[in-house]
Symmetry: C2
């Protein structure tokens, strides 16, 4: 099962933000909404075999499970309303205990280190400086880690150098995080862009 | 230069819609916003060599030119505000004359037939029933035609059968229109997923 981990640097963890201001007052929460869209949505269906962790400011992690997601629409505003409920629930999360804010959406205080310590399969960093995905051939069981619209911090960079099995690029142009997720899915869907 | 043509069936052409209700009252204008995002946005940059036509209900066509787009942000709400200005300008468009509503955004009354009559290069329909993109190998000069979240009408289907040079699929799973655009770009960026 592919897992995606998005390291979010600017999105708010305060659930009082306005749905009318996702790209402003909510600290570019729109970027994370698009990552949710790319990770889960198929035409009139959801990818049930996907997990997504949004690690926000090292403070709150929202984990979405395709197997149990319900009533999520693909638009940014609807997704943001679900993430807002998750952020509100995070206030009750203590230690490694997560709180379910809605079907398939769990809020926790897990750090990036803790999230990655708990995954199966290879940890693959999606990064424009990595080797071509067609050469590195990540498996569907991989955990794909990527940053939002900001570069990772120097602390995150140091940690990732230790934790990541390989760095993989999905193309020669610097892409938005959600576009990289879409392409990674397509790579897996088509068995390495070769067969379908 | 790749051109994308999205056939939109439910989005409103009435510019009085609320930016708070893109997926409802605006008739799933959110779908078109995400197509604009996928067609043009790179990380901290825009694809300048792209043109996108949104053919809305056979009534209004909004044409976006990457070469001259300005002040467009990647979030659905911001893109919708630009499309709304385009729809407002469409009221002044007569015959084949288009009206520029902002840098790089033109509103016209062109029909799907008229849009496709005016393109250079092959007309490629992105469709899940088409041949694999890796087999059909569309060129960067192609015009890629695809539908929004609805199937094309029987009239559109009849017309497309005549007008389209080939049908191409970007993968085995039915995808959202914007995800298909992202993958088509990636195919072109990587010279057929082979080199980068």
């Amino acid at each position: 099962m592919p897992t995606f981990v998005v390291i979010a640097h600017t999105a708010t963890t305060d659930p009082s933000f306005s749905l009318d201001d996702l790209a402003g007052g909510a600290g570019r929460l729109d970027v994370l909404c698009r990552c949710v869209n790319a990770a889960f949505f198929l035409s009139h269906d959801l990818r049930r075999d996907v997990r997504l962790h949004l690690v926000i400011r090292g403070d709150v992690t929202l984990t979405l499970e395709g197997s149990s997601l319900r009533r999520v629409a693909p638009d940014e505003r609807n997704i943001a309303s679900h993430l807002r409920s998750g952020l509100a629930a995070a206030g009750e999360a203590v230690g490694h205990q997560s709180v379910e804010s809605g079907p398939g959406i769990h809020a926790s205080r897990l750090t990036l280190e803790e999230v990655l310590a708990d995954v199966d399969g290879a940890i693959v960093r999606l990064h424009e400086g990595g080797g071509a995905i067609t050469e590195r051939e990540p498996s569907p069981g991989s955990t794909f880690v990527l940053s939002d619209h900001r570069d990772v911090t120097s602390d995150e960079e140091r940690f990732l150098r230790e934790a990541v099995d390989e760095r993989v690029s999905v193309g020669p142009r610097p892409l938005h995080a959600d576009h990289a997720i879409t392409i990674a899915h397509n790579y897996l869907d088509t068995e390495g862009f070769r067969r379908y």
